[in-house]
Subunit: 205 residues, 2 copies
């Protein structure tokens, strides 16, 4: 239980009981597999081996469970990647680190990541997602800054920064749609290969 719960990225400041961590962990797995709508509170309770009522003792409603997973996954992604950017290194090396760190995060917190992105769609009620979007913007701000710096430093061509950002993020974010954990290449190696291809280009010189 504790091992599974460890796969849920949580801020160090927030203390949660084993039970709460178990609920979050099982919910992430179910949300990832079946989506938000496709996962019922009964499913979650059954997976945890507890009654449905107990879920409402620890959480206000279904949305709070999901929001906690999604917010945690997004916030910690920022911190995780930010901490792994080598200080003082040239921008291109930091871009590479940004990409491989994201791949690393993806394989560590696979269920939480999948859960938070699988149900990105149907969230018209943006109030609860506001803080999550803030961290997402900070995360995207990292790569935007790095690419701008790389252009200033003359390491990469003066391309459209916004589009280059989208290209990098697309390659990383689309991985969860096709990558299976038992593949020969892990997400870090894939992210590294992506960087090489994007940076050097496919063209034969």
């Amino acid at each position: 239980m504790a091992r599974a719960a460890a796969r849920i990225p949580l801020g160090k400041e927030t203390e949660s009981s084993d039970r709460v961590l178990q609920i979050l962990s099982e919910s992430a797995r179910l949300f990832a597999a079946s989506g938000y709508d496709g996962t019922s509170m009964r499913d979650i309770a059954l997976a945890c081996g507890i009654s449905k009522s107990l879920l409402y003792h620890h959480f206000a409603d279904k949305d709070e469970i999901f929001a906690r997973i999604a917010l945690g996954a997004t916030r910690e992604l920022y911190h995780f990647v930010h901490e792994r950017l080598p200080e003082g290194a040239p921008p291109s090396a930091r871009i590479r680190a940004f990409m491989t760190a994201t791949g690393d995060y993806f394989q560590r917190y696979r269920w939480a990541w999948l859960a938070s992105t699988a149900s990105f769609w149907n969230d018209p009620e943006a109030r609860r997602q506001k803080e999550r979007m803030m961290w997402r913007d900070r995360y995207e701000g990292l790569i935007r800054t790095l690419i701008s710096e790389a252009i200033e430093a003359g390491e990469i061509r003066p391309v459209d920064v916004a589009l280059a950002v989208r290209l990098v993020l697309s390659s990383l974010n689309w991985m969860h749609r096709w990558h299976k954990p038992d593949k020969s290449m892990n997400p870090v190696q894939i992210a590294d290969s992506y960087f090489e291809m994007i940076f050097n280009g496919l063209k034969q010189n």
Copy 2:
């Protein structure tokens, strides 16, 4: 109604009444906005201004409506792109055409595309999706062949073909997660820029 229905890609052989086209069109819009589970048959009937029963007069069940949209979108994507590959042109030019044609298809059939990709997740019942996957594989086979040919022709470096395919498809497939139709750049221009960046690389030479 007919104009909206025209946004639904259907094979030329299938003849459908206006009513059926209207149902497909409205359903695509709703599925795109709220996902499969988030769209009820009542929602669809209300959007069409008809009774819920009438939906079952024209379609066997909810799944058939979705399957028809998703299968049509996937099958026609293959044909659309395949027809737009310039014969006899060098592989790199054909890769570029593959990408811009996909962007073009995306902006033409936005709702159907969004509907079919938004609910990619929760489809464990693969029987009905089998034909759809066949067309998806053919579509992906196009770009795989083109990249292999480009390597043989010496136009691009001998990179990992599977990964290069994923990189190209990621950039195109992730577009629907961030692109809004009112943006200054349209999907064709974006796809063209992606090709340029991927082909030539970001590195300053």
